[in-house]
Symmetry: C2
Subunit: 308 residues, 2 copies
Amino acid sequence: MIKNEIKIFSPATVANVSCGFDVLGFCLETIGDEMVVRKTDKKGIFITKIEGFDLPFEAEKNVAGVSALAMIADAKPDFGFEIEIYKRIKPGSGIGSSSASASGCVFAINELLGRPYNKTQVTDFAMKGEALASGSEHADNLAPGVFGGFTLVKSTVPLEVLQLPTPKDLYATIIHPQIEIKTADARAILPKTFPLQDAITQWANVGSFVHALHTNDYELLKRALQDVIVEPHRSQLIPFFKEVKSAALNNGALGAGISGAGPSIYALSKGIENAKNVEKAMRAVYSETNIAFETHVSKINTEGIREI
Amino acid sequence: MIKNEIKIFSPATVANVSCGFDVLGFCLETIGDEMVVRKTDKKGIFITKIEGFDLPFEAEKNVAGVSALAMIADAKPDFGFEIEIYKRIKPGSGIGSSSASASGCVFAINELLGRPYNKTQVTDFAMKGEALASGSEHADNLAPGVFGGFTLVKSTVPLEVLQLPTPKDLYATIIHPQIEIKTADARAILPKTFPLQDAITQWANVGSFVHALHTNDYELLKRALQDVIVEPHRSQLIPFFKEVKSAALNNGALGAGISGAGPSIYALSKGIENAKNVEKAMRAVYSETNIAFETHVSKINTEGIREI
């Protein structure tokens, strides 16, 4: 029986996983938005409640609303939906705040419609909302939320998402320094072209990373989590990036890098103990600065968005 | 008991497999060199016979000899080796002719020494010989010969080779147009830098290709076998490349591209029937030209170099 109301948890996600700029992402467990979506007799999308952060109520100006409108434009149900957003992921943090809104909303509506769309289609609708936030259609934060675990976005037109295996003992540590990085700056700091040799290093690492996930090879994961293309540039926008990364690697992390376009920094570790030690080490770095920050330790979430 | 003499088959290989420029390679079965290596009382490396093609007998000027010298410089045996080379892979064909000599020779010596070196070390010694042929140390043709199947060279310094899984029904078709591509030309035609967007497409494809090998997903293999970086440039050096590639794809190939630096063109197909149809279609293209050519159909060789 199809319900009239659903409450979901839409997790935060890490995109641009070191070597996998624009293609590799993974899903977190311990931080995410909650949303309640219910059917209404009146057709349309109505955002009735937003808690946590100040975001627009007009559906056309809200990433969740835009995704939802794209889905109902296709599904053409003879009813509408009202949406309550309990926003926990701070916008601009670099762990997929807008993506969680966009994908959570269409995930919920898809459930209330009786699941007419597959995960790739759900992601595709969410891309419409994501485009409102980022100016272009990207799926690298959306896919890990919708599919769970590690994902590789093979292409966006047409959208093709590969669900990669997730080694069981893999934990993420996130530190979010409370600074703002402007998207325009994050883009402007990237060179337009790159030397072939660096690109080769990068795709050798992407291939190695995927192989490591399939073979549960944590040591290879470690050696593959290198970014010679984007990190050398964008890390300049994150104060104490080098110190945080070194602290993570010196305290048991397999790898660390910029989460999304920053300012959050992620680390991956084998086992929760290592992940907690990494958290401590990361906190120690920022504790000596004037920058406020928060941290999260999370198992890799292999389920993705879920009903709660 | 360690023998005093060994005869080996050192197969041809395909490097630069479309998206995997400089990192992905695979091993062929139906074409390769043969070598006989035997211990001699006199220390040193002595090339006593070369059949098939005109190559230098002085060890220091011969890729097999240089690899062998590198290995004995490290192993310091109190005897030497004489080498007979039965060359079947035409030098300059783009299917790893020099690599087969370099790796076959050190594989054989390693066996006669009681196998003190692992496959990565054998490949590393062979790189010394390969450097004589190509001017720089590369392992992308060596690794598939030594390890068998599909390989990914994660890095050359230090050398790290990943052995990838090989789907059972995968067959290669090779067409070797009898033209010469100068290494200098093949290098000069490549731009020094590339747009980030193209590099992203390439590493999405490398990741997808590795995932496809692990999941036996032939359709994904097909979609991943794209090269937006090197092929658009180097294919200009191979007459009728576009026609051959189209013919292959239109006759059942999963993908096709330049083998190594060319002039050979490879195709991958599911099943030997498809691979043979692809061979027919490729031959038809060159049959209408004045260019002599030869073709090979081969299962992917998962064993690599072997004693015969």
